[in-house]
């Protein structure tokens, strides 16, 4: 049980304190940009890049007040996004994400993801930032996969044979919200079942030991 808790603590951000299913952050991106696996992966990759840039900028601006740090970090991320789009290196990025691209560079989730940069040592803060991005990507991948399968019967644009008709409504935001709600509840249930299993196993071990010594 203790080992399980310690493992969760070490990987905080992926399962424990997941930015989407536990902290309720990044919902616009999780709901809107998760209509296909390709979009989900693009958004996850972009958030990862923005978080690393934001982390480094926030680390450099530690001496400033919180308001200025927030503004300058977001501004640098937005300018970097504009520069990437202008360079034409990733045309697919703007085609798929549209207005959510600059928003991903300046939002509450990014600021929360990079917050450890101000409080912890460089290594620990960077690890937590990366884990939070991985947690976001994990949720995005699961959501995108389910929605793409239901909406188009495809995975990464490759057709998959599934029984039943395609349901175009799964691409609507309402379905994204509902699916995310069930995903968050599912994650909690798995955590509770795992704890219950570990507790019951922990109770069985002393009982077996007592039986053996009699």
């Amino acid at each position: 049980m203790r080992a399980y808790r310690q493992r969760l603590e070490r990987t905080s951000g992926i399962f424990k304190n997941n930015p989407v299913t536990v902290l309720g952050l990044g919902l616009p991106f999780a709901v809107i940009a998760s209509t296909s696996l390709k979009r989900g992966a693009l958004m996850s990759g972009f958030v990862f890049a923005a978080a690393i840039v934001g982390f480094l900028v926030s680390r450099m601006l530690r001496s400033l007040s919180e308001t200025w740090r927030v503004i300058l970090t977001c501004l640098v991320c937005v300018c970097a996004t504009a520069a990437v789009v202008m360079s034409g290196l990733f045309p697919i990025l703007f085609d798929h994400l549209g207005v959510y691209l600059p928003l991903a560079a300046a939002n509450m989730m990014l600021l929360t993801i990079i917050r450890p940069a101000e409080e912890k040592s460089f290594g620990a803060a960077l690890r937590e930032t990366v884990f939070r991005c991985v947690g976001f990507a994990l949720v995005m991948c699961v959501l995108s996969l389910i929605r793409e399968l239901i909406t188009l019967h495809t995975v990464w644009d490759l057709p998959v044979k599934l029984a039943g008709p395609t349901i175009g409504g799964a691409a609507l935001p309402c379905f994204g919200f509902i699916l995310l709600g069930f995903l968050a509840a599912g994650a909690r249930t798995i955590d509770r079942l795992r704890i219950r299993m570990l507790l019951s196993r922990g109770n069985e071990a002393p009982a077996a030991h007592r039986e053996g010594t009699r």
Partner: protein, 198 residues
């Protein structure tokens, strides 16, 4: 008459058709922490309205000046963000927040949140992208703020009722709220008449 119809259309688009919360999923970040009362929700809406309208006004003026340049399509992102930041600072130092009534004074703490949680920035970007006519962009931004406040009030009312009901442990808190927002969003889509599969 045409102007009136255009204004009404922009307003309806902002309030219902493209509702920032229920159709675009904006301002749903951290929904459990910021609006615990109806007054808090109204203050959030008021702060959003102030920041967004001022930022849209600045952005519209800058669009007139900078749109002839070819880079405007991408430059508008940082420009709009700067407009939001400038509006935030202007409002923060506005004497009205010191001498105004209790409602106005208590709206001040929400300014930082609404300015940088992405919602004001998103509304400014959408207003510029959707409307080429300046005053229509402003009306649309106003409609978005009204729609946001209405949606947040609906969410808060739902949350109050959910807190009085027995909810399975796994669904308590954020999951049930997300499902409730999803059902509200579905209701909006039904109202608007989007083509849902039968």
């Amino acid at each position: 008459m045409n102007a009136f119809a255009a204004a009404l259309s922009a307003l309806a688009a902002g309030i219902v058709l493209q509702n920032v919360v229920l159709a675009r999923a904006l301002c749903t970040d951290d929904p459990l922490h910021f609006t615990r009362t109806y007054h808090g929700t109204l203050r959030l809406g008021f702060a959003t309205l102030l920041v967004t309208l001022l930022a849209t006004l600045f952005a519209v003026i800058l669009r007139r000046l900078l749109s002839p340049f070819s880079l405007w399509s991408v430059l508008r992102w940082p420009v709009c963000f700067v407009c939001v930041a400038v509006s935030f600072f202007l409002l923060l130092h506005l004497p009205a927040f010191r001498i105004g009534g209790q409602f106005v004074r208590e709206s001040e703490p929400f300014l930082l949140y609404v300015a940088f949680n992405g919602v004001a920035y998103a509304i400014v970007l959408l207003s510029l992208a959707n409307y080429a006519v300046d005053w229509q962009a402003l009306v649309y931004a106003f409609g978005c703020c009204v729609g946001l406040t209405g949606a947040q009030l609906l969410i808060h009312a739902g949350r109050e009722r959910i807190s009085l009901s027995v909810v399975p442990r796994s669904f308590a808190g954020l999951p049930i709220l997300l499902i409730y927002i999803g059902i509200l969003s579905l209701a909006i889509y039904g109202l608007v008449g989007h083509q849902l599969p039968t």
